[in-house]
C-alpha cells in the first residue's frame, strides 16, 4: 500500500480530532494496521474437504489456518493448504486472454477472445453437428460451473461429449458403487473413523495424499490400543509404518487376495448369514450379461482362491491373507482406497470385490463399518459425479440412456424435448483420440491440465497442439500457464477459488461453500462468468435456443436454486441445503431434503437417511437402524463373482519392470499450483524414481543417479531413489513435474477399464536403464 505524506498527515490530524472527541478508541484503530479478517471456507486441494479459515488484510489473502470448529477435519490441514495464499497470489498468474497468432500466444481483449471461441464452436456445430464439439472439465471447478457446462452442452448444444478429469481418478469407484449398491457415492462418513477398530487401506498412500484423514486414523490408533491397520499395496508407502498387517501383492494381482479373504471369512464362519440373506444377491457375468447365482455358487467359486492358491497368484503369503481376513471380519472395519484400485483396467471389479468383503460380513451402515472411496480432487464428487458432468450420466443419479431421466432434465432446463441424445458421448480417452483424428473440431478445457495428466501423453499433446491443416480448435480456461495452455489456440484467465463464490462437494457427501474473499488479478474472470458469456454468444449465433441460459442466471446463487430442484425425488435430495445454510454452517452432508434436516451421516439406514422417510424410496415398515439398499435392484446389494484378471500390460522380457505413478505429500497432481509456492517446490525440486535396492544393485544404479524409464510409448528421466518401498520388479514415479524429461505420462498406458473407462495409470511395463 502506498500513501502520500499529505494523506498520512491528514489521517493523523483527523485521528487526533476523533481521539479528542471519542476517547481515543477510534483513533487507535485508525493508526493500527488493519487486523486480519478470518473468513470460513474449504481447502482447494484434495477431496478430504478440510475446513479452513482464510485471512484477509487490506484486500490481500495473507494467511490460511485450519478451522478448529470444522466438524470432521477439526482444524487439521496439510502443508499444501497452508501455502495457498502464496499459490493464489503467484506472480505468473494468467491475467489477460490470449489468442494464438502465427504460432504465438498474444494478449487480446475478452470480447475478441470470446467471440473467436464462440465462432469456432458455432461454425463446427453448424458444419459438422453437435457431436463435433466437446467439453473437458474438472473436479476442481465449482459445482455450479460444472452443472452449467453440462446444462449448456447436453441440453443446449445437444451433445453428450461432456467429460472431466474425474474420469482419470474416480470413475472406477463410481462404477463399483453403482454396480454393487445401485447409486454412486459412499454410504458412510468420516464419523466412522472414530468408531472403527480395523482400518483396511488399499491402494492408498493416505499419509501423503490425504494427510488429514491419515492424521485422524493415526490419532484414533494412538488413542485406542485395539485399533489395527491392514495395508494392501504393492508399494510400501509411508502408511506401511503403522500397518499391523502388510499385504504386498504383485502389481495388478490383488483380486485373488480379496477373493481369498472372502474364502477365509466364509470358511471360518466369520460371515453374517442374516445380513447376506436379507440384503445381498450374487451375480456373475456370462456371455456379457449378468446372471444371478446363489450363495452356494459363490462359496464354490471361492474354492479357487484358497490362501495357498492366492499366494501363488498374488505373491502374498497365505498366512498373511488369513490374518487379514480374520481381522477384517472382527471389525468394526472401515475401508479406504483410492487410485491403487481405481486406476486399473479392472478397477470396477476391484471395487466390487472390496464391497464384497463388507457385504458378506454385514459391515455396512453401522458405526465404524463402511467401504469408503477417498477422492483426490476437491469437487470430483459434488461437482462432476453428482452434477452428472460425464458423458453417460445426467444430474443426481440420472442416466442419459433412460428416456425418463432425459425428459426430467429437459423439462427442468427448459430444453427442447429430444435435445439430450440417448447415446453416451465419448469418454475421456476416446474424446482425445477423436481429437487426434480431427473428428472433434472444437474443445473447451476447463481448470485441468490434460497436456500433462493424460496417459500416453505424447499422442494427446500432439492431438491438441500439433499444427496441421484442419487442426481442432482448443480453448483452455485456467489460472496459470500449464503444459496445456501452451497447446491452446485461446487461453482465458480464470479466477481462483478464493476469488469466486461456489460449492465444493467432498468425499463424505458434504457440500461446503467457499466465498469470494479477494478480487481476481488483472482481467481474470470466474469460469462461471466465462461460461455464461460463452452460452449467450452461442445463443446469438443460433446454435443454442435463445434464452436457454442467457438472462436466467446472474450469480452462482441463482443456479444453485435450480440444482437443488434437480435433486428433488432423487437419492441425492439436497433441497434443504440452502445458500444461506451453507454460508452459516460448515457444510451439510446430503441427503438433506428440508432446511432443518441436519444432514446424513449414514445412507441406507432407517432413522438416519431421510430418503427412507419420504419420497419415492420411502419405507415406513422399517425399524430404526435397519438397512435398505433402496437404489439397488430388488433392494439388494450385489456380491460379484469377478474373475481375477491381471493388468492390461504385464511386464515381459523386453520391459521387465512395472511402473506405477502417484503423488508426494507436498505436491498436488501436475504441480500447477504447488510448484508456485517456493517452499513446496524446494521440498521436491525434481522428479525421482523409487527403485527397490535389490533391483538397483542388479542394474548398477546408485542412489541419486539419473535413470531412463522407457515403455512402448515413450521415455522419461528421473533421479534414482533407492528405497525398499516398491516391491522387486516395480518402480514408482510421481507425476507432479512438468519439465519434458520428467513428464512420466509420456510413458504410462492409455488402456482403460471397459466398464468405467478409467485408464490404467498404475500399471504398465517399462525398462529401466542408467541414463
Amino acid at each position: 500500500m502506498r500513501s502520500t505524506r499529505r494523506e498520512f498527515m491528514k489521517t493523523a490530524a483527523v485521528s487526533a480530532v476523533v481521539a479528542a472527541t471519542s476517547g481515543g478508541a477510534v483513533a487507535e484503530t485508525v493508526l493500527r494496521p488493519e487486523p486480519i479478517r478470518w473468513v470460513k471456507s474449504v481447502c482447494r486441494f484434495c477431496g478430504t474437504g478440510c475446513g479452513v479459515m482464510l485471512g484477509v488484510r487490506d484486500g490481500r489473502f495473507v494467511a490460511l489456518r485450519g478451522d478448529a470448529k470444522h466438524p470432521t477435519t477439526k482444524g487439521l490441514v496439510c502443508a499444501k493448504s497452508l501455502f495457498l495464499p502464496k499459490i493464489v497470489q503467484a506472480k505468473d498468474r494468467l491475467k489477460v486472454p490470449q489468442i494464438r497468432k502465427n504460432g504465438v500466444l498474444k494478449d487480446a481483449s475478452w470480447d475478441e477472445a470470446m467471440e473467436l471461441v464462440a465462432s469456432k464452436f458455432a461454425e463446427s456445430i453448424q458444419k459438422h453437428g453437435p457431436d463435433s464439439v466437446a467439453f473437458y472439465g474438472s473436479g476442481q471447478a465449482m459445482s455450479e460451473e460444472s452443472y452449467l457446462a453440462n446444462r449448456l452442452f447436453k441440453g443446449g448444444i445437444g451433445t453428450n461429449n461432456v467429460e472431466g478429469n474425474p474420469r482419470l481418478c474416480m470413475a472406477s469407484a463410481v462404477g463399483g458403487y453403482v454396480t454393487t449398491f445401485g447409486k454412486d457415492e459412499p454410504m458412510g462418513s468420516y464419523d466412522d473413523i472414530d468408531h472403527a477398530k480395523v482400518f483396511f487401506l488399499v491402494g492408498s498412500n493416505t499419509a501423503e495424499c490425504h494427510p488429514v484423514i491419515f492424521d485422524r486414523i493415526l490419532a484414533t490408533k494412538q488413542a485406542r490400543k485395539d485399533v489395527l491397520v491392514i495395508v494392501l499395496d504393492p508399494r510400501r508407502s509411508p502408511i506401511a509404518e503403522i500397518a499391523d498387517v502388510m499385504l504386498d501383492p504383485k502389481p495388478g494381482f490383488d483380486l485373488p487376495v480379496f477373493h481369498s479373504m472372502a474364502h477365509v471369512i466364509i470358511k471360518e464362519n466369520l460371515h453374517d448369514p442374516d445380513f447376506i440373506a436379507k440384503h445381498c444377491q450374487f451375480k456373475i457375468v456370462k456371455d456379457g450379461k449378468p446372471v444371478n447365482v446363489s450363495f452356494d455358487d459363490y462359496v464354490k467359486f471361492l474354492e479357487g482362491f484358497t490362501p495357498r492358491k492366492a499366494e501363488l497368484q498374488s505373491g502374498v503369503p497365505a498366512d498373511q491373507i488369513v490374518e487379514a481376513a480374520r481381522l477384517f471380519a472382527k471389525g468394526p472395519t472401515m475401508s479406504f482406497w483410492t487410485m491403487g484400485l481405481n486406476q486399473r483396467s479392472r478397477g470396477v471389479w476391484a471395487n466390487n470385490l472390496m464391497h464384497n468383503l463388507h457385504l458378506i460380513t454385514g459391515q455396512i451402515g453401522k458405526p465404524g463399518m463402511t467401504p469408503f472411496s477417498l477422492t483426490g480432487q476437491p469437487n470430483a464428487c459434488g461437482g462432476v459425479r453428482d452434477t452428472g458432468s460425464l458423458c453417460h450420466i445426467l444430474p443426481y443419479g440420472r442416466s442419459v440412456k433412460k428416456a425418463k431421466h432425459r425428459e426430467e432434465m429437459e423439462k427442468l432446463w427448459g430444453a427442447k424435448p429430444g435435445t439430450i441424445p440417448p447415446k453416451p458421448g465419448l469418454n475421456t480417452i476416446e474424446m482425445f483420440r477423436a481429437l487426434a483424428r480431427d473428428e472433434i473440431k472444437a474443445m473447451l478445457i476447463l481448470t485441468t491440465n490434460p497436456g500433462q495428466s493424460l496417459p500416453n501423453a505424447s499422442v494427446y499433446r500432439d492431438a491438441m497442439g500439433k499444427p496441421r491443416p484442419g487442426k481442432p480448435f482448443i480453448c483452455v480456461i485456467d489460472a496459470y500457464p500449464t503444459r496445456t495452455t501452451e497447446l491452446a489456440d485461446v487461453v482465458l484467465p480464470a479466477a481462483m477459488w478464493s476469488e469466486k463464490t461456489g460449492v465444493f462437494g467432498m468425499s463424505e457427501r458434504r457440500y461446503q461453500l467457499h466465498p469470494k474473499i479477494i478480487d481476481a488479478p488483472g482481467e481474470s474472470r470466474s469460469d462461471f462468468d466465462v461460461l455464461l458469456d460463452f452460452a449467450t454468444r452461442l445463443e446469438e449465433k443460433g446454435v443454442v435456443p435463445k434464452g436457454y441460459i442467457g438472462g436466467k442466471f446472474k450469480t452462482t446463487d441463482d443456479i444453485w436454486e435450480e440444482m437443488r430442484e434437480a435433486s428433488r425425488d432423487t437419492a441425492y435430495d439436497f433441497r434443504g441445503i440452502t445458500r444461506e445454510r451453507l454460508r452459516n454452517e460448515r457444510g451439510v452432508r446430503w441427503p438433506a431434503p428440508t432446511p432443518n434436516h441436519p444432514g446424513t451421516s449414514r445412507r441406507f439406514v432407517k432413522g438416519e437417511d431421510p430418503i427412507l422417510d419420504a419420497g419415492p424410496y420411502a419405507d415406513n415398515t422399517l425399524k430404526p437402524g435397519e438397512i435398505k439398499f433402496y437404489a439397488a435392484p430388488k433392494f439388494r446389494a450385489t456380491v460379484w463373482l469377478r474373475p481375477p484378471l491381471g493388468p492390461s500390460e504385464p511386464p515381459d522380457d523386453e520391459y521387465p519392470f512395472v511402473l506405477s505413478t502417484g503423488r508426494v505429500l507436498e505436491h498436488w497432481h501436475t504441480g500447477t499450483m504447488t510448484m508456485r509456492a517456493r517452499e513446496l517446490r524446494r521440498s521436491y525440486p525434481e522428479c525421482f524414481c523409487e527403485i527397490n535396492p535389490k533391483d538397483a544393485k542388479r542394474l548398477g544404479i546408485k542412489n541419486g543417479s539419473r535413470v531412463k524409464i522407457t515403455s512402448r510409448r515413450g521415455t522419461a528421466w528421473a533421479k534414482a531413489r533407492l528405497i525398499a518401498g516398491p516391491r522387486e520388479g516395480m518402480i514408482f514415479v510421481p507425476f507432479c513435474w512438468e519439465d519434458d524429461p520428467s513428464l512420466i505420462n509420456r510413458v504410462t498406458i492409455d488402456a482403460y477399464d471397459p466398464g468405467s473407462k478409467q485408464p490404467e495409470f498404475k500399471i504398465c511395463a517399462v525398462k529401466l536403464e542408467k541414463a
Binding site: 498527515m9 478508541a25 482444524g75 505429500l665 510448484m675
Partner: protein, 265 residues
Amino acid sequence: MKWCPEFIVWALLALWLTPSCGSDGCWGSDKSKASAEAEKPAAQPAVSEEAESVPAEVVSKPSEKPPTAVSAAKPRQEKPRKPAARTADTPRVQDKSKAKRKPAPKPKPAAKPTPQDEEFALNAFPPTLSDTKQHRKAWRRNDCLRCHETGVGAAPEVRHKGMPDLLKVAKCRSCHVFEPGKKPTERKRPPIDAGFAEFAFPPMIPASAEHRKAWRKDDCLLCHEDGLMGAPKVRHKGLPPLTLKAKCRTCHVQVRVLDSDPKRH
C-alpha cells in the same frame, strides 16, 4: 475518557508540515528522503546507528576485533562508520548517557531498503556473523542452514542466486566470517514473504543429515519437544490438540535441494 497525546503531537506536526510538502511527495520517494536528510544533522544517523549496534565491551577493547578482510569490506554495504566511534574516549558514550536522561526521540520511519540491501549477497562481500548465542552454537556445529535455509526464527534465508552449484553445498565458513562482539544488524531486510501474515507458513525443515534421519523415522519430537541439542521447542499454541498428534510432515515441508529454477521466483 482515554486521551492519546501522540495523536495531538502528530496532528500539530501535520498542520505544521503540510504546506511545505510537495503535492506528489510520498513515503520513500527520493524527494521526501532528501528533505528528511536535509532536516537532520549529517553525522547523527551514523553515530546513533552504530552506538546502538556496537556493545560497550567491544568499544573499550578495539584490539580484540579480528582484522578480517570481510570486516574491512563492511563499508561497502553499510553506511561508513565514524572512526571516532570505535574508541572508548570518544564522546559517543557520553552522548548515549545523555540521551538516556532526555526524552526518547520519536522513531523516524525506516528508510526504504535499496536493491543493494536486498541483493547484498550478490553485490557485496559475504556478510559476517553477528555474535549471538545461536550463532556461536551453530558455528561450532556448522549448522547455519538449520535457520538460514528455512527462514525459521526470522533468520534471513540464504539467497545464493547466480552462484555456482558447488558453492551451494560448500561449508558456510568458507566464505562467511564470525565477528566476535558484532550485534545483529537492526536494519530490516525485506522479508521474502512480505505481504503475507507473519507466521502464516509453518517453518521449513532443513536438509541436514539429522533432519533427514528424523524425517524418515518421523521422530522430530525427540529433539523438538524438550529442546534437545539446542533444537527449538515446538510451540503449537492455538492449534487443536489433534494436530499435536499428527505427523509433523503434514504441515512442515523439508528442504531437499536449494532452488534450481530461479525463473519460478
